[in-house]
């Protein structure tokens, strides 16, 4: 039975946040989400509509995932590519079911910061920026949040220094109070565990990777989070999922998101650490 690495399992878990027949979008600079969408489309969600990152290509069949999001390879096999405005209009009017969102900081309610860490006028770290996430996080039906940097202790924080993309509530109010039609974050997949959000919009631990403890998650998290009555281990990947993943991402662009230490996590097909 072949072994697999953590980045593979992680991307497959991300893929499983997608349901069949959903319209799903990832942004640029998001290789884990990007690869996850192609895995989902080729396994359990054949009828999802995959909107390819910065190309806005519909259901492409790329020969490989390149390390940049608007390479022509990413529209191969797509009968149609949306124009910029077609995609964003669809997202604002509520025709997109799911988007993947990450951030340099993510708070308890799933607000994310991709703008600047530290004071805005003189930031400690100027992040790249949010692309279109600010507006469309308000209206897309469900958000899958992900981070590969939970362990750093600086990512999952009590409060974002700047809210770029909106979660379940911000100091200005809840989604309902802000007239936002999107459902907000449905789950957060980190390299330590998988979380959902309770009825108050607060992050709650649901699943753990087999080589991680609740205590480790607590140490890495900037606030007290709820824990589900029964925390279950993340279900292992299938051989079919692994095959698809390896075929679509031969260059391993997904690995660019991880701290090199995470690459040492290796598993076999029953899901136990080896």
């Amino acid at each position: 039975m072949s072994s697999y690495t953590f980045d593979e399992w992680y991307v497959i878990r991300l893929a499983r946040t997608i349901s069949d027949r959903e319209v799903v979008f990832h942004g640029f600079a998001s290789p884990c989400a990007q690869v996850a969408m192609h895995v989902a489309k080729r396994t359990h969600a054949p009828n999802m509509m995959l909107i390819e990152g910065a190309m806005y290509a519909i259901n492409p069949d790329p020969p490989f995932i390149p390390p940049t999001s608007n390479d022509s390879s990413l529209k191969r096999g797509a009968a149609y590519s949306m124009r910029f405005e077609e995609f964003f209009d669809a997202a604002i009017r509520g025709d997109v079911d799911r988007m993947f969102v990450s951030g340099g900081q993510i708070d308890m309610y799933g607000n994310t910061n991709v703008t600047a860490v530290g004071p805005l006028e003189r930031p400690k770290v100027k992040l790249g920026g949010g692309g279109g996430g600010c507006n469309i996080s308000a209206t897309i039906k469900q958000l899958t949040l992900w981070t590969t940097r939970h362990r750093s202790g600086r990512t999952i924080v009590a409060e974002c220094d700047f809210i770029t993309d909106i979660g379940h509530r911000t100091p200005a109010g809840t989604r309902e109070e802000l007239d936002y039609t999107g459902g907000g974050p449905q789950c957060l997949v980190s390299e330590l565990g998988v979380f959902d959000y309770d009825s108050q919009g607060r992050m709650r631990l649901q699943e753990l990777w087999p080589d991680v403890t609740v205590e480790q998650v607590r140490e890495a998290t900037g606030f007290e989070f709820a824990v589900a009555d029964e925390v279950i281990p993340v279900a292992p990947p299938t051989q079919a999922e692994l095959d698809v993943l390896r075929a679509i991402d031969p260059l391993g662009v997904r690995r660019g998101e991880f701290d090199p230490r995470e690459m040492e996590r290796e598993f076999d097909l029953v899901g136990a650490g080896v």
């Binding site: 600079a29 290509a57 020969p63 910029f84 949010g130 692309g131 469309i136 109010g173």
Partner: protein, 303 residues
């Protein structure tokens, strides 16, 4: 509207339409169809205090910052994705306060360009409320829907002085063909006071018509033929992006001194774009054009 039947000029003349302090829009996005030759020429000509607006960009904006040409950055993202990481010069300038960061959102920028295109003094935009974006944009206002009572953010039109667009082919009138993604280029053309275009090749109008005009020439004030004018970004179908060169840049830009070195070595060279292309080397450039020969060859450009 620019109605001259023949608008062909050289790169230096085209660049002269951009003035210090102008609001400019750069075509393409991330690693695709960036108007890099024009960016280099603006730096050579010593342009200052530019205000750039757009969506997700990378080396075009970062190089302008590294060279000291930019005063205000109003893009939705500047960076090199997960592959090469944060934009070094942008980051440094933002952290030290040497440029004004007016980071925006793709939808907001699109809406503001649409307001200009549609000849409207404002448009409502959904979103922004509840985020911290308004801290960067005191110019936004609010508007109440007269039908539903919903309060929405109102944004003013964005009318760049010049849109700078690179395309694979164009004709003498300025009609441009390009492949998807067009990113915001069509909206830049409609919202800006003028477009200056660079293209890999100027061809007869009939040839362009057969491929399909994406940006109509009546928006274009000047067009210059500049081979490899997007390098090190891609310009499909002509060539893929030069990941190695981008990486060289990102490493150089990490420190002010080496950033200056990059500008001196690759941009402010007496021979201009000819010298730039020579320096990159015919072999490297040819390799980028061979992406279509096989999947392995294409994939190999990214390994």
């Amino acid at each position: 509207m620019y109605l001259d039947p023949d608008k062909r000029v050289d790169l230096a003349t085209a660049a002269s339409y951009v003035h210090d302090g102008h609001m400019i829009a750069l075509g393409g996005g991330l690693s695709a169809r960036l108007p890099m030759a024009m960016v280099r020429e603006l730096i050579r000509q010593g342009r200052r205090d530019l205000h750039v607006v757009g969506s997700a960009h990378s080396m075009d904006v970062d190089l302008l910052i590294a060279a000291g040409a930019l005063a205000i950055c109003e893009e939705s993202y500047v960076g090199f994705e997960q592959d090469l990481g944060l934009a070094p010069a942008y980051r440094r300038a933002a952290e030290t306060g040497t440029i004004t960061v007016k980071e925006s959102c793709c939808v907001t920028i699109l809406t503001q360009l649409r307001a200009a295109e549609m000849g409207l003094p404002f448009l409502p935009v959904r979103g922004i409320k509840g985020t911290d974006m308004r801290r960067l944009h005191p110019e936004y206002a609010e508007t109440t829907c007269p039908f539903t009572g919903e309060v929405l953010v109102a944004v003013p039109p964005l009318k760049p002085d010049v849109a700078i667009i690179h395309a694979p082919v164009g004709d003498a009138f300025g009609n441009l063909f390009m492949e998807q993604p067009y990113v915001l280029d069509e909206h830049f053309a409609g919202a800006s006071n003028s477009v200056i275009a660079t293209v890999e090749k100027i061809v007869p109008t009939e040839e362009l018509h057969d491929r399909g005009v994406v940006i109509p020439g009546y928006f274009v004030q000047a067009i210059a033929e500049v081979p490899f004018g997007a390098h090190p970004a891609s310009c499909y179908p002509s060539y893929s992006y030069d990941r190695a060169h981008m990486s060289t840049y990102v490493q150089a830009a990490a420190k002010p001194e080496s950033a200056d070195g990059y500008v001196a070595d690759w941009v402010n060279v007496p021979g201009g774009e000819d010298e730039y292309r020579n320096k990159v080397g015919a072999e490297s450039l040819t390799r980028l054009t061979q992406w279509s020969e096989s999947i392995d060859q294409w994939k190999g450009l990214f390994s």
